[in-house]
């Protein structure tokens, strides 16, 4: 029984949260839904880890849904890259789910709580589905599941501006998804297939023409919107800042990361690293990345809202990943993955700390937060360490990311790209230190003693665990980089 279940792990990764979400709505009980959320998150993480255990020795797992062999049926395909991203997002999900049990700043009506947790699970099911699938159209379907769920999760924020943010994200997201759909259509037009492996082979065999180039362009725009690539990032800052705190934690570590993963998959798998396309994809990605890593921190520096500031920081950090993807080399892919993981755990810790602070002080206005560090030590020190990680100081995972990234950049022969990367770090240092200065050294603005309240278990526990990971992976990065290297090999081995 167990051994037969092990064969089905790829699909269980997605179907378990889907069905549990339906059960949550069916049961309609807040208590049951919360319990189910935590248990499912645990199960999902365990499944990812077990998949890793299967893929590591055996290589690629292919799972033909419906029993129809690919490319006719839909194929789930698990390799080292897939499990890397799966573990990352499911880890984040578990931490965020526990955190969500705490004091929530959402605006839910009577009876909507179970549905809220169901939407959470649907979001995760969609994201997991996007990761494991090897079918272009299936990516679109699961993208939409996760997107719809995300819109509503954001819209649950207490501030009415959450609705505007969600609406804007919905419009941009729908445009992005339609671009992706169009791109899939064009690819299908050119090749007659939807399976990614098959697509890659057929593009290789038939060569590229204008249809394929257009497909690539629309794909980059569409995924660029979903992963908040610099000129298409408009939705992200408000969405992150007005969403409920736990949702911000979840999104920062999962949604954009999965979009980046899909970008990586498509750009490298389909179009091949060195494919003779007549369009300079690398230049476009690198240009967007540079603008992101330089402009976003400067906006963050002027930001008045704590959450939005870190949201801008996400835009900046995502740019590093895009830069690494744009390099188009194996080392670049590895660097992208390393930063994908490292940024996820750092940002999750940061947003949890921010959430705790906001829940206590009742404000996200930076200028109201003077001297808060003296009464809310735990949250502020986490924020400080997370901030150092965002800057990329040695001893934090951020440094590892930057080291690997800059090494990849140098290896590619574009050593001058190291300069914007480091300048971006410096700009991050500016906004992080601005916060530190206010949290520690600015005179208090609000009656701080009144805002003290003990931390609940579900608040400090996930934060401590994630911080532990941050500290650990700052000092022992070999696991992450080694794995990312294997994943990159799996990817670049496929395309050509």
């Amino acid at each position: 029984m167990i051994s037969s279940a092990l064969k089905h792990l790829p699909v269980l990764q997605v179907v378990v949260p889907l069905l549990v979400a339906a059960l949550c709505v069916l049961a309609g009980s807040r208590f049951l839904a919360r319990t189910a959320l935590i248990l499912t998150a645990l199960v999902m993480l365990s499944i990812s880890l077990m998949l890793a255990g299967q893929v590591y020795p055996d290589g690629v797992i292919s799972y033909a849904l419906g029993g129809w062999p690919p490319p006719w049926g839909i194929e789930y395909r698990i390799d080292m890259l897939t499990v890397f991203v799966l573990i990352t997002i499911n880890l984040v999900n578990l931490a965020a789910a526990v955190f969500a049990l705490g004091r929530n700043d959402d605006n839910l009506g009577r009876g909507a709580h179970a549905a809220f947790y169901a939407a959470w699970l649907l979001c995760m099911a969609g994201l997991n589905g996007m990761v494991v699938t090897n079918d272009a159209f299936n990516v679109f379907v699961f993208l939409e599941i996760s997107s719809l769920a995300t819109y509503v999760l954001i819209g649950c924020g207490r501030d009415p501006r959450a609705l505007l943010a969600s609406y804007r994200y919905l419009v941009m997201g729908a445009v992005g998804a339609t671009f992706i759909l169009l791109s899939i259509g064009l690819l299908y037009m050119h090749t007659g297939t939807l399976n990614l492996t098959d697509l890659a082979q057929r593009i290789d065999a038939r060569g590229a023409n204008r249809t394929v180039i257009m497909a690539l362009a629309f794909l980059i725009i569409g995924l660029g919107i979903k992963c908040a690539m610099m000129p298409l990032h408009d939705w992200l800052p408000n969405a992150y800042s007005f969403a409920p705190n736990s949702v911000t934690v979840l999104l920062s570590g999962t949604a954009t990361k999965v979009a980046l993963y899909v970008l990586l998959r498509f750009v490298h798998d389909l179009f091949g690293v060195d494919h003779a396309l007549s369009v300079p994809v690398d230049i476009v990605l690198v240009a967007c990345a540079i603008s992101g890593m330089l402009v976003a921190p400067l906006i963050a520096l002027r930001e008045s809202n704590l959450k939005r500031m870190f949201a801008w920081s996400s835009v900046a950090q995502i740019s590093y990943i895009i830069l690494a993807i744009g390099l188009g080399t194996g080392a670049g892919v590895a660097a992208a993955l390393v930063h994908l993981f490292n940024h996820s755990i750092i940002k999750v810790a940061v947003f949890m700390a921010v959430g705790i602070l906001i829940a206590r002080t009742g404000t996200a206005r930076i200028r109201h937060l003077g001297s808060v560090a003296h009464t809310h030590r735990f949250a502020c020190y986490t924020l400080l360490f997370g901030g150092l990680g965002l800057i990329g100081l040695p001893g934090t995972p951020g440094f590892v990311s930057k080291w690997v990234l800059v090494s990849a950049v140098v290896e590619r022969g574009w050593w001058w790209l190291a300069i914007p990367v480091l300048a971006g770090s410096l700009a991050s240092a500016a906004y992080v230190w601005r916060i530190v200065e206010i949290l520690w050294a600015k005179p208090a603005d609000i009656p701080l003693q009144q805002t003290r309240s003990p931390l609940a278990f579900v608040e400090w526990f996930p934060l401590v665990v994630v911080m532990g990971l941050v500290l650990w992976f700052g000092l022992h990065a070999s696991l992450v980089t080694g794995w990312a290297g294997l994943a990159a090999a799996a990817l670049t081995g496929n395309g050509s």
Binding site: L388, I391, L393, P394, G395, V400, W403, V404, V406, S407, V410, E411, W415, A418, I419, L422, A423, S425, L426, A429, W433, E437, W440, A441, G474, L475, H476, A477, S478, T481
Partner: protein, 483 residues
């Protein structure tokens, strides 16, 4: 055998102990002093058992080729010993100084002080550039709260300049240089002979520029601005950190990198070196000029520090064994001299409330110990016998001659003359000019005077002990000759 990393961990554990003992002032101060003594004992233990510390100790391996590791080598030992000896003395001074100021955040102060010293120790015994950079940044961040200790608007703004200059230079230039070394060189470890033998001369030149201006703590102009601004910090911070730990960490990194990353053979063939050496050389002169015009005693000392640091950087760029000995010795000599001067400045400010030199006429007669110590330390900085300062300047001068740069020799000499003028002027003015009104005896409590007299005496003692120091450093030059 106790591992090398103990010298880093003892201060860090001490910081935790101090935080834990924050409710009991006496216990806290005891922990502080014991940590200092324990740390000194550890450094002393290493110095006495050099043969046992040949191995590299890897604490964490972050990535292959990127590990936090420590080793013992003569330069680091010299720096570590200096900081190790001066720290317990400073602790005693700091406790009495802050008590005299009725400071209310002493726990924070002492804990961060421990972290800063731990970082300095980490720099001293770092085995590779990554470890060095880690502790370099840790030092930057741990000293920021000390600089802004008073939380006044002025202090916070100075803190911004402090952090801004140090972070900008280190993140943009220093880190870039490290990355380039990591990718183009043969490794990040400090090995005699350097890691860049197989790289192109252009890259070596670029790296040299990046290192000289990337290590902002060495305060080569135009990156010196943070140092005078950092003087808003309490006197013990200025004394130990901005005369010993932080700034010496900068010049020490410079020395270590020239010796173990570039290697003197390589450095001597880089054309750009002959141009670049004029930046620190000019700093030596210009900073001395500025120092002469300062009336605020701490500002004058700060510019004097800028000037003296560039002696060491110049020495490092001279790239010969005499200059290396001179630079290594100057780290020590200047540390003992300058810490004395800052102790004195703090004592003067606490006990007489004066901070402008023009107000100090005749003050020497009411504070004889303080100004006596100031006098001795000034001699040491200026490089006059019977203080240790004479030896380091002597070797630096010899190094300049060996390099064939008589002009640089001239610069160093001229600056020394100015040192005499602007430093010795203070005690002379205090002892010999008449006081504006008759003053009572102002001398401070012994706990404040004791440390500064002790360091002044040590400065003199170094005049006689310099042989050992020279031996240690000469050992290094031998090691470099046969890697």
């Amino acid at each position: 055998m106790i591992p090398v990393s103990a010298v880093v961990l003892i201060p860090l554990l001490g910081a935790i102990g101090i935080v834990l003992a924050r409710r009991h002032v006496g216990l806290r101060n005891l922990v502080l002093v014991l940590t200092g003594i324990g740390n000194l004992a550890m450094v002393g233990h290493i110095a006495l058992n050099l043969s046992g510390y040949q191995e590299v100790q890897v604490l964490f391996e972050t990535l292959p080729g990127l590990s936090i590791a420590f080793h013992v080598e003569p330069l680091g030992l010299v720096f570590g010993l200096t900081a190790g000896i001066l720290w317990p003395i400073t602790s005693i001074y700091a406790v009495s100084y802050l008590d005299a100021c009725r400071d209310t955040h002493q726990t924070r102060f002492h804990a961060l002080f421990c972290v800063a010293i731990g970082s300095a120790m980490g720099i001293a015994f770092s085995e590779n550039l990554f470890t060095l950079f880690l502790f370099y940044e840790m030092l930057t961040f741990s000293t920021w709260p000390l600089v802004t200790h008073s939380r006044t608007r002025e202090a916070v703004s100075a803190g911004r300049v402090y952090l801004g200059v140090l972070l900008a230079s280190s993140l943009l230039l220093f880190l870039l240089a490290i990355v380039l070394v990591g990718n183009y060189g043969s490794g990040l470890s400090f090995v005699p002979g350097g890691q860049l033998a197989s790289t192109s001369p252009a890259l070596v030149a670029v790296l040299l520029v990046l290192f000289v201006f990337g290590i902002g703590k060495a305060a080569v102009m135009p990156l010196h601005r943070w140092l005078p601004r950092a003087m808003v910090a309490p006197a013990p911070v200025s004394a130990l950190l901005h005369a010993v730990a932080v700034v010496k960490a900068g010049v020490f990194s410079m020395l270590k990198i020239t010796v173990y990353i570039f290697g003197y053979d390589l450095l001597n063939v880089v054309f750009l070196r002959d141009i670049l050496i004029w930046f620190p050389a000019a700093t030596v002169l210009v900073a001395s000029f500025i120092a002469m015009r300062q009336d605020d005693i701490k500002a004058r000392l700060a510019y004097s520090t800028v000037s003296q640091l560039s002696y060491i950087v110049t020495g490092a760029l001279m790239a010969n064994s005499l200059a290396l000995i001179g630079s290594g010795m100057h780290i020590v000599m200047h540390a003992f001299g300058k810490i004395t001067l800052f102790f004195c400045a703090g004592a003067i400010m606490i006990c007489s409330g004066k901070k402008y030199i023009s107000d100090m006429n005749g003050l020497g007669r009411s504070m004889p110990w303080t100004f006596g110590a100031f006098f001795v330390a000034s001699l040491s900085i200026a490089g006059l016998p019977p203080t240790g300062g004479v030896w380091s300047k002597w070797y630096l001068a010899l190094g300049a001659l060996e390099l064939g740069q008589v002009a640089i020799l001239g610069v160093l000499m001229l600056s020394s003359l100015m040192n005499v003028y602007y430093l010795l002027a203070v005690p002379l003015r205090a002892f010999f000019l008449p006081a504006p009104q008759p003053q009572a005896r102002l001398e401070c409590r012994p706990a404040l005077i004791g440390p500064l007299v002790l360091t002044a005496l040590l400065s003199c003692a170094l005049f006689f002990l310099s042989g050992d120091l020279q031996g240690l450093l000469a050992d290094l030059t031998r090691r470099m000759a046969s890697p």
